[in-house]
Subunit: 435 residues, 2 copies
Amino acid sequence: MSEYRPLRVALLGAGSVGAEVARLLLEQKEELKSRVGAELELVGVAVRDLTTKREGFPKDLLTTDVESLILGADIVIEVMGGIEPAKEYILRALNSGADVVTANKSLLATHGTELFNVAEQVGAQLYFEAAVAGAIPIIRPLRESLGGDRVKRIMGIVNGSTNYILDRMDKSGISLEEAMAEATELGYLEADPSLDVEGFDAAQKAAILATLAFHTEVPLDKVYREGITSITVAQMKAAQRDGYVIKLLAICEFLEADSSGPEGISVRVYPALVPRSHPLAAVNGAYNAVFVEAEAAGSLMFYGSGAGGTQTASAVLGDVVSAAKRHVAGGPGLSNSTHAKLEILPISRIQTRYSVQLEVSDQPGVLAKIATTFSKHGVSIEAVEQSVLSGKEVVAYLEIGTHLASDAALAAVVEDLKASDAVQKVASVIRMEGL
Amino acid sequence: MSEYRPLRVALLGAGSVGAEVARLLLEQKEELKSRVGAELELVGVAVRDLTTKREGFPKDLLTTDVESLILGADIVIEVMGGIEPAKEYILRALNSGADVVTANKSLLATHGTELFNVAEQVGAQLYFEAAVAGAIPIIRPLRESLGGDRVKRIMGIVNGSTNYILDRMDKSGISLEEAMAEATELGYLEADPSLDVEGFDAAQKAAILATLAFHTEVPLDKVYREGITSITVAQMKAAQRDGYVIKLLAICEFLEADSSGPEGISVRVYPALVPRSHPLAAVNGAYNAVFVEAEAAGSLMFYGSGAGGTQTASAVLGDVVSAAKRHVAGGPGLSNSTHAKLEILPISRIQTRYSVQLEVSDQPGVLAKIATTFSKHGVSIEAVEQSVLSGKEVVAYLEIGTHLASDAALAAVVEDLKASDAVQKVASVIRMEGL
């Protein structure tokens, strides 16, 4: 490879990821030069305030003049987070012809299509491997390796904080509140934890993954979302007893046309029972994993650290190297295709299995009544387990597992159960995946 | 994306992978056109003999005129296998300016550098995702996603046949011979099984992975190799008892300079004890997985079907789409860098843990003698377990686990043990990885 002019790299953001990116760029300068065929010169780091003390950045690289920094750059790395001014800076960079590397999942999930359209128009590239599942290479395999295959389904554990919380509840029998307190102490949860525990973060990543896998724009408000805040110790114990583990899953699935509607895709986030023998069940702590089922490739899984400054920085650097090689070698690279324009279907269309737990009066005929309610809506029961609650002798506890049923049918069953005088309480309804 | 002229795709080889590639190219023609921005036209399938009956190929596409087929192609897919004439055809294709997609690991492991050099000289691309671990995207992540990171170690289960055999021995307690007979019946083993069970196939893949991970050419004869043919039911049982599983691992590792020599890389294949809690331990049946440890990214694992016509075809198609997009978008793409030129170190340099099983005379002082032999060579013992063999009352059985030690030191210990009058038999020496 012949010598090429140095490539000017601008870094927007000086947080933990930015610091690690800067460190890697500076420390591995020679190595990166050999790999790319050109020097990667960090020309500046945009910060809001020059007076803040910042470790790890050469002082003369810090600047508040973001406009000039962007204008002179070949590659712009955005690790500031948030929507604005990140979006404005990225648009400015693309329009000036620079390639952009971003780790900003909220921005991509909300304004991704606009950004990709601008990139395509001007012939620049927008890289975002770090936006989903940290250092795990999942964007590139979906964009490229599976480019000749048909993805049928993706099931991902894409939020490390909630996986840590659920894993602790599973392993130690502690409550959600206790596990959340631990996660906060370890820095896994923000001061406002709802982004994680209500599933918003996972929903953003699901939207990005679904867009790539199904070549269809997926607006965030079309992603069905349930968080983990209702998960109880009792549900965890029941899951363990039956050989399952509860995981917060981001699911992107292609659904064939059926009697209830046309073909399309379902993109959803919810806690679900996963059999302990499934590869996703073994994803512990704050790790992430993405399980992909494709027509020809079969089942694939990508596993690794989902978060953390160094891991995210590794993914960012990988993208920087790709962008730099493209500069050296020429050519506009790949575009983000949304040509398929599949319909995004409501949650009522999905077919899955359910575990329903009921507190019922311990009287003859109760089970028959309940079974009738299920069959009325066409939901077939696979297994029933009955136990008497200790200390509550007039109440029995029913655990009902269903065969595949539509979410609409199951919702109708649950509504009827709540109104039934045989049922004292619908204690838990949880979906079962990976069977 | 604007309309582009149809791209001419030539297929060399009409076996099970070739048939699946042809099927996908023909059936998904419209879908691929949308993704790529140009039609992928299968212009011919090279076969040795036109009279052989072949299912699944349009008859008018079959040809024995390989030279003309290659000359008119934009993208040449080589799925014939073997060294010649595959090598000659690939060189011819590259020299005519075509991009080449190959699944031929033996060819890459033996003549890869020559092929990559030619590709670089003429500005063509050589893709080979399908050559390692079937449909699992591992080549692209190593080439690109981790392009800005430093790989420290790769541990892979890259041969599905041997993983199936070891898994069956573990799960059912059957012997190696019985498991091999099963694998042969299922079509997992060839008539001559030595390519798999002696570790040659895994060694080829290790050479390819190490070249990518460490930017260093790795000749096949520098890969240390042990197969699984000496694995016994007794070793399997001992592994289970101690919480381990035996896996055939392909390991590529960077070693720092130490008192015994300079820095460099170790590339090796051998069966090893892996703790059951390690993600690799859960890789069952004929599945493959590659575990990567990188400086910034931390631990990553890539998991999926390692073999099979459809899986390999998926990987081939992914490469074809990459090559086609490069045609549409222009630019010479990526090159295979071997700039680092690290030294490839002998097996004696590695540091790992060992499990040594000995049959010894059941007499006072024996353990002291044996412990002295270990310490004489600087190998520190972590645990000793002694049991009396049933039915052999004068013989005791010693199982010794070591701390980290060099292979050279351990080899010296074993040599002394064999010569010692306290030892009746060195029953088993097996390395321990993933601790």
